[in-house]
Amino acid sequence: MRLASLVHLASLNLRSDRRGTILNTAAACVGAAALVFFVALGMGVGQAARLLFPGDARLIEVVPGAVSLGAALGGGALDDGAMERLRELPGVQGAWRRLSLRVPIAASRAPEGVRMNWPPGFTVQVPVVGVDAGLVASDLQPGRRFDDPPAGEPIPVLASRRLLEVYNKTIAPAWNLRRLPAGIDLVGLQIPVQVGFSIIPLKTEEKVYDARLALAGLSDRVPLYSLAVPVETVRRLHREYGKSDAGYSSVVLELARPDDVPSAAAAVRRMGFAVDEGERAIAERVGLAITVVAGALALLALLMTALAALAIAQSLSASVRARTRDIAILQSLGATAGDVRALVLAEAALVGLAGGVLGVLIAWLAARGVDAAALRFLPDFPFRPTTFFQFPPWLFALGVGVSASAALLGALAPAALAARIDPARAIS
C-alpha cells in the first residue's frame, strides 16, 4: 500500500470517528505539552541560575588550611613556593594568585564619565583584591592593560559582571540613585578614591591620598562585592603602608576538565591547604537541584505520555473490535495483513503527530503566559530573567516525536489484533 493511499484512508477513518480522534489527540497533546513545558522550564531556570552563579566548573580556589602543621608537611602559607607546587599537580593548566588589599580605599564622589546623582556626604568603602592578569585576561576590553600603573596614573580595575546587576536592581532603588548603563558602556569610567581612608573609626591610615580607579572590564572571576586590581598594585600598596605579605589570600587553579576537580581538590588537601567551595559549591548545588527538579517534572511528563499511550491503546483496541467487519471488507478488497496493520499504526501516528504539534504549541503559549505573568507580578530582582523557558528547535522535535512514538507504541497491540482478523469469518 502506497504512503499516499495509507494516509488518505487513515485520515478518512479518523474523520469518521471524530469523538475518538479528538479524545486520543487530547491525550497525546497533554503528554507532549507537559513534557515540552517542563523541559523548557528546567532549561530556562538552569540558564537563569548560571547567570546568577556563573561558576566555572574547571576552577577551584585554594586557601590556607584552617589548621596548618606548617611547611614541614607541605602546607602553611600560600607563597610562591606553594604556587609552584600547586602548578605541578596533575591536570592543572594554570595557577593564579589572589591577594586581598589590607589598605582601606574609599570612594566619596561619583565616578567620572557617567551621570550619577551621588548623595552628598555619601562614602563607600571599596573592598579590593589583587589578582593575576592571567586570571582575567579574557575579560579585559581590547587595548586595556592590567598591570601596576606608574605613579599618578589610574589603577586598572575589574568589577564583577553581577555587581552591576545587583547595584541596578537593589542598591540604586534603595538609595534612590541613578541606574548605571549596561556592561560595555561603563568600561573606561574612572572612580575617584581616597587610598588609606576608612569609614570605620580608627581604621584610617596616617597617610591618605587621592587616586583614581579606571574600569578595564567586567568579569565573572572577580568576587561579587570586590574590585580586582593587579596583584602587583596590592603588593606595592602593602609596601607603601608597611603591611607584611605573609602569603596570598588564595590561589585559583584552572584544571583541564571539570572531571579533574575532585582529584585535584583531594591533592590540595593532602598538601595541607583547604579548598574554598564557596560560590562554586552553591552553583553546583543550585544546578543539581534544578536538574533534579526538572528531571522529576520531565519524568512526570513522560509518565503522562505513557498514560496517553495506554489510553490510545485502549481506545484503538475498542475501535478495531468495533471495526472488525470494516477491516474484513478491506481485506476482501485486497488489503493484506500488513496493510491493515499499517493502517492502524498510521491512524495512531497521525493522532500522535497532531497531538504533539498541538501540545508543543500549547506548551509554548503557556510559557509565554507564565513569562508575562512573571514580568507583571514578580519584583525586579537581580538577574530576573526575561524568560524562564528555553525552546531550542530540538525541543519542538522532541515533543512531536515523543507524542508520535507513544501513540505508535500504544497502537502496536491493536494493529496486531487488526492484522489477525479472518475476513471470511468476519464477513459471514
Binding site: M1, R2, A4, S5, H8, L9, L12, N13, R15, S16, D17, R325, D326, I329, L330, Q331, S332, L333, G334, A335, T336, A337, G338, D339, P423, A424, I427, S428
Partner: protein, 224 residues
C-alpha cells in the same frame, strides 16, 4: 475461468465437525453467467469465499482466473482479490462512514506491488466513472445511510468493477432489494457478462437464476 476440484470444507462446531462442501467440483467458463442455488446454510457463501481467495482453509484444488489459489501466499491471495475478482455481498458491505465515491475508490488504495498505482485524484476519477456506469454519479458524495438498498448495491457493484476484474462473485446480491432494484442489479450483471466478465452468483431467488446462463444446485455440499 473458475475450476474447483474435490473441494471439501469443514467447520468445527464445538466437538462436532460439520462438512459444508463435500468433494465439490465446479467449472465456469470465461464470460459465463452462472448461478448456484440452494437453501440457506447449504454452503453457497462458503463456495464463493473459496473461489474468491477469502477462505484458504479447505481441501482440494481451486484455479481461478489462471491462479492456483492453494499455491498463493496470504499476500498473493490479497493481490488476487484486489486484481482478479470483485465481490458483491447481500448486505452490501460498504463502509458506513465513507461517501459512495470513497467506498468505490477502496480497491484502488490496495493496488499490489507491480500493478500501476493511480494517484488519489486519478482514483477518484475512475471511481466516478464506475459510479456513472451504475447510474449513481449524482449521488457520489452521499453516505451509504442516505442511499436506498438498491443504490447501495449498485455502489458495491461499482466498487467491484473498479479494478476491472475478470471474475465477479456475488453472494445473494438481490436478497435485500425490492423487485425494481433487484432487476436493475440483474441487468448490470448481464451487461458485465456482455463485457466479458465471468459472473458467479449464489442465490435462492428465482429471478436471478432465471437471468443466468447456467444454474447449479448445491445440496449436501455437492453441486448437481
Amino acid at each position: 475461468m473458475i475450476s474447483l476440484r474435490h473441494i471439501t470444507k469443514c467447520f468445527r462446531d464445538g466437538e462436532r465437525e460439520v462438512v459444508v462442501l463435500r468433494d465439490l467440483d465446479l467449472d465456469v467458463a470465461a464470460g459465463a453467467f452462472t448461478a448456484v442455488v440452494g437453501p440457506s446454510g447449504s454452503g453457497k457463501s462458503t463456495l464463493l469465499y473459496v473461489a474468491g481467495g477469502l477462505d484458504a482453509d479447505y481441501e482440494g484444488e481451486a484455479v481461478v482466473a489462471g491462479r492456483d489459489l492453494r499455491a498463493l501466499s496470504a499476500r498473493e491471495r490479497a493481490a488476487f482479490r484486489n486484481v482478479s475478482v470483485g465481490f458483491v455481498f447481500q448486505s452490501f458491505n460498504l463502509l458506513p462512514a465513507l461517501p459512495a465515491v470513497e467506498n468505490t475508490m477502496l480497491p484502488g488504495l490496495f493496488a499490489p506491488p507491480g500493478v500501476p498505482a493511480p494517484s488519489i485524484g486519478q482514483l477518484r476519477i475512475r471511481a466516478m466513472e464506475a459510479l456513472d456506469r451504475v447510474g449513481l454519479a449524482d449521488k457520489a458524495s452521499r453516505l451509504p445511510a442516505h442511499l436506498s438498498g438498491g443504490e447501495r448495491q449498485r455502489v458495491a457493484i461499482a466498487r467491484a468493477l473498479l479494478s476491472r476484474p475478470a471474475v465477479l462473485l456475488a453472494d445473494e446480491p438481490t436478497g435485500n432489494l425490492d423487485a425494481v432494484s433487484g432487476e436493475a442489479v440483474i441487468q448490470l450483471f448481464s451487461a458485465m457478462v456482455r463485457d466479458g466478465v465471468t459472473v458467479l452468483v449464489v442465490t435462492h431467488e428465482e429471478r436471478v437464476s432465471a437471468a443466468a446462463g447456467r444454474v447449479l444446485h448445491l445440496e449436501e455440499g455437492r453441486l448437481r
